[in-house]
Symmetry: C2
Subunit: 507 residues, 2 copies
């Protein structure tokens, strides 16, 4: 199983490191994507040099043309033929462009967006008998989707906000239906556009305010009520399956054989799709059925393992959940996925009564590395610390030392004390460590925010290089008891998350 | 063709009589549905008596239970299992209820909505270690779809507005995916719910503010970018075709034979569908192909007429456009329909170069009836008035008299003077009569707002009872020249709409 030790940049989907200050408690739970600007750091190396001077500028002639196209897209009514042709042309140009040109196009977009917004605000008055001005007025009205100028007053800012020229620009793109074979439908293009916007928003002024409107639109257009939960099987189109290989973010898919094992008749895979983008999964989960709660991922991914007898299995294990669209960051539907999947499984397999994940602990090593000796001692408690000293003499001098001591070359052969110590620290990290009152670990934050509980820690559960480097090879089971989710969440809110018995013994 | 003289209550889709004061000029063009509360009058007779006392109240026990269910639906986070079960139960109860009970349920809904909104605003602060309160907090955060509490300030009210408990209530319903066979999916249910809300909003306090949020959500969920244009043919499922018969609002479909004629191989029918509600057309248009611009609807609907030779036709005629969902009033996608259909037709029939409607003039008779003698005289002009007096002695005393004089028993046999006089008045009505600076006739408002022009008036063009009573049997062709639409619209804005030559001679 050397397929996992690639040490690549992929991270588990629910990562969301830097939470904003000041938002209220549970609102931050279950948030799937990280905050804006996070991907920034990762792409700095790639883009930093090319754009050190602030981006490769467009040729003056090109910039002038694009500026005109964009102004039309911002100002004209949504049914305006010329503006829609301009939008289509701009999309095609963007899709064909390389990184540097795209960034320059986004800079121009941000520039036009800031001025068009003001213009639209000016054009708010009555028609003045001037066709051009009034066309703008209509566009505004259209974007407002039937605004109510009856003086009833500001009970809802939604309608008002929709009136902005920015919203109109995005709605215009969304309405493009991909006439030409090579071009994505407008909605799909907007996802890709937003991924670029997020990558560059710290360095391109004006992108962020533009993105705020796009994110708000996305949160409606990708409302969970509009999404379809669909199974993905070995019978699915290869062009779709290929995307699973590309998007899998937890346990890399090494080959088509590996994929076939994950889609075999004793497995299930479900994805949320947007009906307008039928061949593009937005998020997917891989499910294995086993007789006991799964303790390691090696067994689950063993291509040579025999098929499970589905009549005898009692457990459904969610062993990989991946978001696929960087451009949908901040749009939450991940927390609906597992509940919907559990409903589906309960229907198909009435005998399967137990639902749990086998999840990575992506933040453990980073956390431990940053602790000082005292913090680790407090986390371990006197008894475990004494036992360690008894065996090893002195304790490591700091968290980094502890991490080294708890990362044996061959975890499976580690002595019981190393195991117990590492698992005690992991249990502390998952249950006690908070970041702004939420579980510090992003995957824990996601699953506890769904109402799952920290059921069991597993040693030597992920022996890939990635698994060993991020969590000393440990994994955790989050248990989903459908009827207990609401109650568990309330307990978490009260600072007292539910944990499994074996986890309790580690604390 | 006596199928049309039913004199029933159906009205042509683009009706939108009472435009709000103060909205800007062209923003009101092309609006498809009428303003809120319009259907009110029509249903007054039906509901007035039963609800004269303010509605049949729910039993105290039932009201208490529903109040609790609804509070949960407003307050709990969107993934809360109990709240979602409550929403499902409430939906099922509503769907099973009769008129009086539904109205009482809506009254209760409005009551809970007004108090829950305030509560949610109170719960905005940080978590207070109280599980219940914090769960509310999370719900808020979820509904905000990743709110940005980073102090960047109010650049967009959208995110903020989304946080309201009302929005959460509707999003919760939209996310229900219709587990039980009898129940509609949540989105479809919400359309039906809103239709009821619109009917009763004048008499049930609090419904209107609730509806404002639902309308805003709908304008995103039914954004034209999310809709699919699909052909409907004789090969379509009968359960779908049956709906065309039910929903056809312009020229009633008399029988399956009539429908078959409209879907024959020389015809086309297109509808917008929402992908989450696949068997429910939202709006549809019927298209006939003819060698010349169609002058009457009798020929188009003649079931005995031979098939047109599609290799020889030059004109595509849109002879019926119907909205189907009262619950989507105010959500504009109608003005995208014809442009999309023209694109489709250009692709399938490159030789068809001309696109026009054959449309009713639903407001003509009502308008004429209200004019006094002077107004009619001014509209006719001295020459035509003199010719009338020459033949008939004195002119009618008022508009009602004119209407009677211009409504012969057998329009096809009417003398040329009657014809010319009626058509001159109709031309004046369509081109000159304005309501808040927009064409007074609702169908004219729609098509001119799309950029079409008033091309030709047709006498004896709709001999059904409805056609004769609303427009003396006249119909009008609106011409769609794809490359002229934007320009025509600008001319309309400048108060100088483009008209056909024959219409110019009538003015």
């Amino acid at each position: 199983m050397n397929s996992f030790d690639t040490g690549d940049q992929k991270i588990s989907a629910p990562l969301g490191e830097s939470e904003p200050a000041g938002s209220n408690f549970l609102s931050r739970l279950g948030r799937w994507w990280g905050r804006k600007g996070e991907a920034e750091a990762a792409t700095k190396a790639a883009n930093g040099v090319a754009h050190a001077d602030g981006g490769v500028p467009l040729a003056t002639r090109v910039a002038r043309r694009q500026r005109e196209q964009l102004r039309l897209c911002f100002d004209a009514r949504l049914t305006d033929g010329a503006a829609n042709a301009a939008a289509q042309a701009w999309q095609a140009e963007y899709e064909a462009a390389g990184e540097a040109t795209r960034r320059a196009m986004l800079e121009l977009l941000a520039e036009v967006a800031s001025s068009s917004g003001e213009k639209a605000a000016d054009a708010k008055g009555e028609g003045k008998g001037d066709g051009k001005g009034e066309a703008k007025g209509e566009a505004k009205g259209e974007a407002k989707a039937d605004a109510k100028p009856d003086g009833k007053g500001g009970h809802s800012g939604l309608t008002h906000a929709l009136s902005s020229a920015r919203i109109r620009f995005f709605k215009r793109l969304a309405a493009l239906h991909g006439q030409r074979g090579s071009s994505a439908c407008g909605l799909h293009f907007l996802i890709q556009l937003r991924a670029d916007m997020l990558r560059w928003q710290r360095r391109v002024p004006g992108l962020r305010v533009l993105d705020d409107d796009l994110e708000a639109l996305f949160s409606n257009w990708f409302d969970v009520g509009l999404l379809e939960l669909q199974p993905i099987t070995w019978d699915s189109p290869a062009s779709l399956l290929e995307k699973l290989i590309r998007y899998e973010a937890v346990h890399e898919i090494a080959s088509w054989t590996d994929l076939r094992n994950r889609l075999d008749s004793d497995r299930r895979c479900y994805a949320f799709f947007h009906p307008r983008i039928p061949r593009e999964p937005l998020i997917f989960v891989e499910v294995a059925f086993v007789p006991e709660m799964a303790a390691n991922v090696q067994t689950l991914l063993d291509e040579a393992a025999p098929l499970e007898d589905l009549r005898r299995v009692k457990w459904a294990i969610f062993y990989s959940i991946s978001n696929t669209q960087a451009g949908l960051r901040g749009v939450s539907f991940g927390n609906f996925l597992l509940k919907r999947v559990i409903e589906e499984l309960q229907r198909e397999f009435p005998k399967v009564k137990q639902f749990a994940t086998l999840s990575p602990i992506p933040g453990f090593a980073d956390w431990l590395r940053k602790q000082d000796a005292d913090a680790v001692s407090r986390a371990l408690g006197d008894k475990r610390l004494a036992r360690w000293r008894e065996r090893h003499g002195e304790a490591p001098a700091d968290g980094a030392g502890w991490l080294a001591a708890l990362s044996p070359e061959a975890p499976a052969d580690a002595d019981p004390l190393t195991r117990d110590t590492a698992m005690a620290l992991a249990a502390h990290y998952l249950v006690r460590e908070r970041h702004q009152a939420l579980p510090a670990d992003p995957v824990a934050r996601f699953h506890l925010g769904n109402g799952a509980c920290v059921e069991r820690l597993n040693w030597a559960a992920d022996l890939s290089r990635k698994g060993r480097s991020q969590s000393c090879g440990m994994m955790v089971n989050y248990l989903y008891v459908p009827e207990a989710l609401d109650d568990n969440l309330a307990r978490l809110g009260a600072g007292n998350p539910r944990i499994g018995r074996s986890v309790g013994k580690l604390l």
